[in-house]
Symmetry: C2
Subunit: 190 residues, 2 copies
């Protein structure tokens, strides 16, 4: 998605250690009009798949999934939670995820009643690096005996192992921007 690459070049900030900050439109301040275009693009990429539900993970995935839902006929969005609230159902699917950014391992969870057997599920998320969050979501969906129809990612760091892990599972992956290098400057895959 050329427009996304241009936005990343213009508004993204490259920090040390391969970290790209896109807080200006994706992770802290949200450019809602642009995120709707992102949602529409996901629909194009998964036009021929039957999608019953979109699953994502708090926090940044929520805006992306919520704004994409309209283009998939307003399917429900379920977001996995990272911390257990008193209010959360006790009947949970739980998986473990390691965050390299925050340097810790945490549980992610979804109430059992919100993923149903045989449902066709699209996973959406903001970033794909080592694939920890997405693999955790796939794990939760597998526990429910539902189908992962595909994974849609806004920004993929292709030089890390996430895309390989997803494709090895035979799951369709669509990343709207693929970054092949963050070594001094942002380089996209052709």
């Amino acid at each position: 998605m050329i427009k996304l690459e241009e936005k990343i070049k213009k508004e993204g900030i490259l920090l040390e250690k391969n970290i790209l900050k896109v807080d200006n439109f994706l992770n802290h301040k949200l450019d809602i009009k642009f995120l709707k275009e992102i949602g529409e693009e996901f629909k194009k990429r998964f036009m021929y798949e039957k999608i019953d539900k979109i699953v994502t993970i708090e926090a940044s995935g929520i805006a992306i999934a919520s704004l994409a839902s309209e283009f998939f006929g307003y399917v429900p969005v379920v977001f996995a939670k990272k911390t257990e609230s008193k209010n959360l159902d006790k009947e949970l699917y739980i998986s473990k995820v390691h965050s390299y950014t925050k340097n810790k391992t945490y549980d992610i969870m979804i109430s059992k009643k919100y993923i149903l057997e045989n449902e066709n599920i699209l996973i959406l998320d903001d970033f794909l690096a080592n694939g920890e969050a997405v693999m955790g979501l796939i794990d939760l969906i597998n526990m429910a005996n539902a189908n992962v129809v595909g994974v849609g990612i806004v920004i993929e760091k292709s030089f890390q192992k996430g895309s390989k892990r997803i494709k090895e599972k035979g799951i369709k992956l669509e990343s709207l921007a693929k970054i092949k290098s963050l070594d001094g400057k942002i380089e996209f895959e052709k």
Copy 2:
């Protein structure tokens, strides 16, 4: 908003200790079409105010704010973060919030560059109980010398002190459903 009251009655689950769970459409699984109607209703309630930006707090507020933005001419949404990420800007406004649900006090923060002096800001959030999260957001916005134009809440627990605290500051509060009692059953204010 009658439709919201009906949805709460139908889908809400009343737990012990005045806790209302609306995970089925607002806090875990998201009913996107309905949340868009919520967004449109907020626009009606703040029709005459100039709004430059919507501010909310992760995680549940993100969907509400993102889906409301369209009705305010796609103003940007900024969500306050609850934990410090390595990637977050070091130039932060920080305030403290106590969560009675999770029984802990935590920092909330917004990068200084995402709230500008004199901006007119609408705060949106899912629940208002004791008002801790909203007071924290007002605090952050005051630090930036921006204006809190109003506070929009999906579900207010009127029997707790949040609404009083906001109104005492002279800030316009619009709650789409006002619950006066959760003692055994859900009772709305007339």
